[in-house]
């Protein structure tokens, strides 16, 4: 399997060092290949999305990157270390399945997660209180996890992921289960982390989040990565669509329309020709077609996903709208 690793350094003289450099990762379970030769190159400080439907291999890939499981083949470098657990202090991880000790108080849970990553407990408790206050959970600091709502507990776990100020944050389906308001807050939080130079990787099956947040994405389907690179590059895989509305329906100018042109209502739609729209515009004007409207629409990430991964893979994906709950 081959793929582009994506160049995030466009416009800069030196490429950003890689936070993650994984090559040829393979993982099999009882003869089933869950991940089949995944390559990933994620620059430091990037927000990177791993997109794929349920069962595509996202979680297994993330677990291999974090050292929770070892790959059967391939190698990975995470923050420069071949064994991710050697740099565990610099990593924060929010698993897809959230879990906290129900009897623990909220600030203790955050501090405990920090302690697992090497943050001294006393310092962790102080930071936990501060983080909980700053994220609107000041009233719940002393409450047990079992007394919190699902959303609040999820926030507590997210803060536990961040309390030790990691250099690399890995979030597995972080938007899952959050309402629209909290999804928006999480997006702000992720952007804030990236602004401070933290590398953020998240998996999602909601394309809108990746489209809004990510500089780079990897599309994963059936354990393989058919595309990894910039979001722009993914979109550019399919040409922009031209939408034309004319006053006259017939005329010699029709010969200038590309072969793949479809008529939808009053509109003509077709892929933007490689030669651009100028020759077409000339023909329309000379043929007195009477242009009422003409727009060129760039392909969305969802369309790109369908084009790259196929209709079957896209079936479980959620295109999503800004602010729309997953």
């Amino acid at each position: 399997m081959t793929m582009a690793t994506g160049d995030f350094s466009a416009g800069t003289d030196t490429p950003a060092p890689l936070a993650i450099d994984a090559r040829g990762l393979v993982k099999r379970f009882d003869g089933t290949t869950a991940v089949d030769g995944v390559d990933l190159a994620i620059p430091t400080g990037a927000i990177y999305g791993i997109l794929g439907p349920n069962g595509a291999g996202k979680t297994t890939t993330l677990r291999m990157l974090l050292g929770i499981i070892d790959p059967d083949e391939g190698e990975r470098m995470v923050l420069g270390a071949s064994n991710p657990q050697d740099v565990a202090r610099f990593i924060g991880y929010l698993p897809e399945e959230r879990g906290l000790y129900p009897a623990m108080k909220a600030y203790e849970a955050v501090a405990f997660m920090g302690a697992l990553r090497g943050l001294p407990l006393k310092q962790g408790r102080e930071k936990a209180r501060e983080l909980l206050e700053n994220h609107g959970l000041g009233h719940a600091v002393e409450r047990q996890i079992r007394q919190l709502s699902k959303g609040m507990a999820q926030t507590v776990q997210l803060l536990g992921t961040l309390v030790h100020e990691p250099k690399l944050v890995v979030l597995d389906e972080p938007f899952s289960g959050l309402d629209a308001i909290n999804q928006g807050k999480l997006e702000v939080l992720i952007r804030g982390l990236a602004d401070k130079g933290t590398t953020v990787i998240f998996s999602t099956h909601v394309i809108a989040h990746a489209e809004r947040l990510c500089e780079g994405i990897a599309i994963i389907a059936g354990g393989k990565v058919p595309f990894a690179g910039r979001v722009d590059e993914a979109r550019d895989r399919i040409p922009a669509q031209v939408r034309l509305e004319t006053r006259r329906r017939e005329g010699g100018w029709r010969a200038a329309l590309p072969n793949d042109t479809r008529q939808v209502g009053n509109f003509w739609t077709f892929a933007l020709p490689e030669s651009g729209v100028e020759p077409l515009l000339k023909a329309l004007i000379e043929g007195e077609a009477g242009i009422l409207s003409l727009s060129i629409e760039r392909a969305g990430l969802h369309d790109a996903f369908v084009a790259i991964a196929g209709e079957a893979a896209a079936k479980d994906m959620v295109a999503g709208e800004p602010g729309e709950p997953a």
Binding site: T32, A34, R89, I91, P95, G99, Y101, L116
Partner: protein, 425 residues
Amino acid sequence: MSTQKHPGGRLSLFQAAYVVARRDFTAILFSRAFIFFLLGPLFPVVVMALAGGVGAQVQQGAGVASVGLAMSAEDNRAMLKAGEALSERLGSAVPPMSELRAVAPGETFDARAALQKSEGQLAAVVTGTPASPHLTATEGSIERWQGVISMIAAQAEGQTLAYPEVATSEVASSAAARNSARINTAQGGQVLLFLLIMLLASMVLSNLVEEKGNKIIEVLAAAIPMDALFLGKLFAMLAVSVVGIAVWGTTAGIVLTAGGVSLSDYAMPGVGWPMFMVLFALYFGMGYLLLGAIFLTIGSQAKTVREVQTLSMPATMLQVLVFFLSSLTITNAGGWIDWLGMAFPLSSPFVMVAHAAMDERLWPHALALGWQALCVALFVRVGASMFRKRVMKSGPQGAIKGKESRRGPVGFVRGLFSKGSAAAR
């Protein structure tokens, strides 16, 4: 790809184990369940006390079996007098006697009928004359009293025996008494060790179910090595048990001291009391860690509390078997069973506690402790590896859960040794 060095990029094994142990220890110590844990040993004591009380009451109600005399009035009197005289020297060996009937000359007395009809404590009847007594009783009572009745009859006949005073010199102990007492100490030590470890085993068995049930396991697995998780959990329970033992020990010490019991009442162990205490504590720690590592591994493979409950029976039976093996070694010191017991890691702490009670040498303990520590490390390693392989297979826990919920007991056992079968994600 070139690897960079990241000094301090992760917690060491023991630092990570400490973080886990601290969390577990405080979680258990400040839980309501800990109160029940502390009260646990009290229940058997209460049951034993109640059983003892009931037994004593039954015994009291049952009374003492007595012998009835059915001779002539004169012979009855002579027999009673002789019985009293002999009981001063023979104590309880002489049964209580009473006149059942003064038989007239020529009259016959049906002893069998008297024993059948009697509703009291009558267990035997003596008829005839002191010169020719006849004892009617059950087989056991005849064996027990035939000789004594013969002596009483002889004394009643006037054949007075001379009883010279025996001069006595008391010694604190003898070789036979010391050996016997040390065997008691060894057995006591083994039983105590067994009870303490057994008390903790079921708690260790279910120790990882919480993490799996609450899905915290992935957070832990991503941050620290599984060995650290295992070690942390084992040491947390050890610390909890130390708190428990301190409470129970102090309570028992106060109660026994108030009852006038002291260690000097028991045989001095071979290595002396202070060293015996130290070795007992060390062997308790090792025994617990060895069995605990195995139980934690078995428990970690279980998905639900129900599965843990199913596993607790074979786990307990394993403990009992180990205890029996260890008990056998006490009377086979130096034999092959003794060597087997010392070498087999699970029985080694029990066997060595017995050795500490019976033998003065210390160097075998140094060897045994080293061997046991090595086995603890090995068990933890293997257990953590099995757990890691099984629990973090792939995908969401749900995928694993769905598959495992359908497996039966055979499937579960097979699962312990297989590479797993969770659906890929």
